[in-house]
Point group: C2
Chain length 387, copies 2
């Protein structure tokens, strides 16, 4: 295979951007040959916005059977990612899915098993893994320069959303349509970055989430979670779409240093010796280990989506390693599911969550929902500059 023939399923905010990216030839070694959408308006948009020979399919079965694509980008609403990915693997297609991996781990684990047995290349759009900023953070932690983990602190109130965002589609911010709010949608990248940079998953989570606190929605738009790690380290994760201007700050503390990322700037405080050694040997009462503050310049460009797609295409063509393996999509979802479950049960939840219990509780939310959206505008939003 010299050129990967790609089909895009789902032409919403993100799918449209992938259609343009591929049609404009921005991905080397790949071409857009098909799209699949049941939305007439979006099909018309594809017809007027693409130059290449793009076949249009209105149902998934025909798309998978007749499109002849090698690989599919799944950019449909969250719930459908695992089912569509499983279908794609069954047809021998390579797959990249939009985030989140799904809404509950039960079928995401099935998707991972299907990916494995298919042998196809499977990636997930955790575009922040392409960000040099977080790659550097991960390097610092994984190389041992931060030392043993003591504390993580991630405040992500930056993704402000006004009511009109939630009113743009019927499925948005409903238990049935999206399966959650800020956690499942905006903050899922940060949950991935939290576990990917540190290399550890939380042991348990105790969380509080507020439903429709700042918006007329039935899901959470404000969350605070307390995290405990296996080694005794603790963490706090805060996410909200109701604050302006919000904060985006990530702190990782170890016994050999501290990382602070705020407003895309990376600062590393490097200790001259382990704080644990200093503590045991220093006799002066007041005092602390010497440290130097290192501002690490990192250039972040806003083409991380493109990098992830390109990386996936290269893995298909050359068997090169993936930046964002699809199987790892379950990690952020585990954390997000644990935060929900803890809020719903009002107790600490151990990870991995009970996949069946989570699924049942989510079905309860869906089945007992009485929420009606008052004003749906059915707008496709331009995602430029957002994650």
């Amino acid at each position: 295979m010299k050129i990967v023939k790609i089909g895009v399923i789902g032409i919403g905010n993100m799918g449209s951007s992938y259609v343009e990216m591929l049609d404009k030839g921005q991905i080397k070694g790949a071409m857009l040959t098909a799209v699949c959408s049941s939305n007439e308006g979006r099909i018309a948009w594809v017809e007027t916005h693409t130059q290449g020979d793009v076949k249009i399919f209105k149902d998934e079965e025909t798309f998978f059977n007749e499109s002849g694509v090698d690989a599919v980008i799944i950019a449909t609403p969250h719930y459908s990612h695992p089912e569509l990915a499983k279908k794609a693997f069954a047809k021998g297609k390579h797959v990249i899915i939009e985030k989140p991996a799904g809404v509950y781990t039960k079928n995401v684990l099935e998707m991972n098993a299907a990916a494995k047995s298919s042998g196809k290349v499977f990636s997930i759009m955790y575009n922040q893994r392409a960000n040099p900023l977080y790659q550097k953070v991960r390097d610092l932690v994984q190389s041992g320069q931060v030392g043993d983990l003591k504390r993580t602190n991630l405040i992500y109130t930056a993704p402000y959303r006004p009511q009109s965002y939630y009113d743009s589609s019927k499925w948005r911010a409903t238990w049935e349509g999206e399966g959650g709010g800020v956690l499942i949608n905006q903050a899922v990248h940060q949950l991935d970055i939290l576990q990917w940079t540190t290399g550890v998953m939380p042991k348990s989570i105790r969380a509080s989430s507020s439903l429709g606190k700042y918006h007329d929605i039935e899901v959470e738009d404000d969350v605070t979670a307390f995290i405990e790690y296996e080694n005794g380290a603790t963490g706090v994760f805060i996410a909200s779409t109701g604050e302006a201007p919000g904060t985006h700050r990530f702190e990782i503390v170890g016994d050999r240093g501290k990382i602070v990322v705020e407003d895309e700037k990376l600062v590393f405080h490097q200790l001259a010796q382990s704080e644990r050694e200093f503590n045991a040997t220093y006799t002066g009462g007041f005092g602390m280990p010497e440290s130097q503050k290192i501002e690490i310049p990192v250039v972040s460009e806003n083409d991380n989506h493109k990098i992830i797609i390109q990386n996936w295409v290269e893995a298909i063509l050359k068997d090169s390693p993936l930046l964002s393996p699809g199987e790892e999509g379950v990690n952020a979802l585990e954390i997000s599911n644990a935060i929900y479950l803890s809020s719903w049960l009002n107790e600490s939840v151990h990870l991995p969550v009970d996949a069946n219990l989570y699924y049942e509780k989510l079905q309860e939310k869906i089945n007992t929902s009485t929420f009606q959206k008052k004003h749906v505008t059915n707008t496709t939003l331009d995602v430029k500059g957002t994650h």
Copy 2:
């Protein structure tokens, strides 16, 4: 009265600094005329380090009855503050106490009642209230420029302490001697600032505290607390003495702006309109209210202790208002007691805490303690540059 005759009770780290401050004439309208301590070594220190005519008392009864002082500075270990203050008020003395107000609210409330009925001037060493930085923060909130409170976030891991600090005195960091760790000692200023700047007390607290996590002590040296306010706002408070270099960052978010104080720098993000109004009226999907980032220069000098003492002396001489009324000392203690109680009970605790329940639980800690300090150095530490 033209000159306030002052006696200092307790010549430890803080008491020694007040003795020097007064003896060197750094407080206008006041003079040091007596000290009270039962520690021979500290008495010898006073004799060699003071120039003025300073009477020395070894027991409190004689000190209160015979010293002839108008006012007392109480700088003894925490537990004794309420009892000594009550004795001082009974003898008609003006009082300033070191922080914390006490260890449990039961007797602190009694102290407040005694202060009120005495009619004497009562202050507490919340020296950070003299810091122009926090005065400005308070002004911004109290003047309505931040708007309705949404979230507070206070990370105070700056007060690093090595084991040798805890080994400097037998009473330090024990339930019996100090009644707690980082909360009751190092972080009490921040708890005061949290409620004083925002003007609101938490409604409830859910907390986790780790005992002797980073040090060989029986009390907590690492705490994370989740706060809920009456209006639905939430907050997180983190304190630790086990991180180097630590963080000192305070964020206050309202519907009209956001304050961030970090490393003694104050930034105010001021919105052009209320986020609540923007949310209700904006139709663009993605977008947020306009804001401007204002860096507010504030000069913080390290003479806040002196300012508080001077302010108290002026209140005695001229009936001028107190920056830090003693009766308000109970507020930070309420928050700290709630954090302990929540950790001990492993549940949410409403404020004000049940004063009797807290007292009983603390007695349990003291009575069941089996901890023995391995290495006590009996060192008086120089507190310059600390709070």
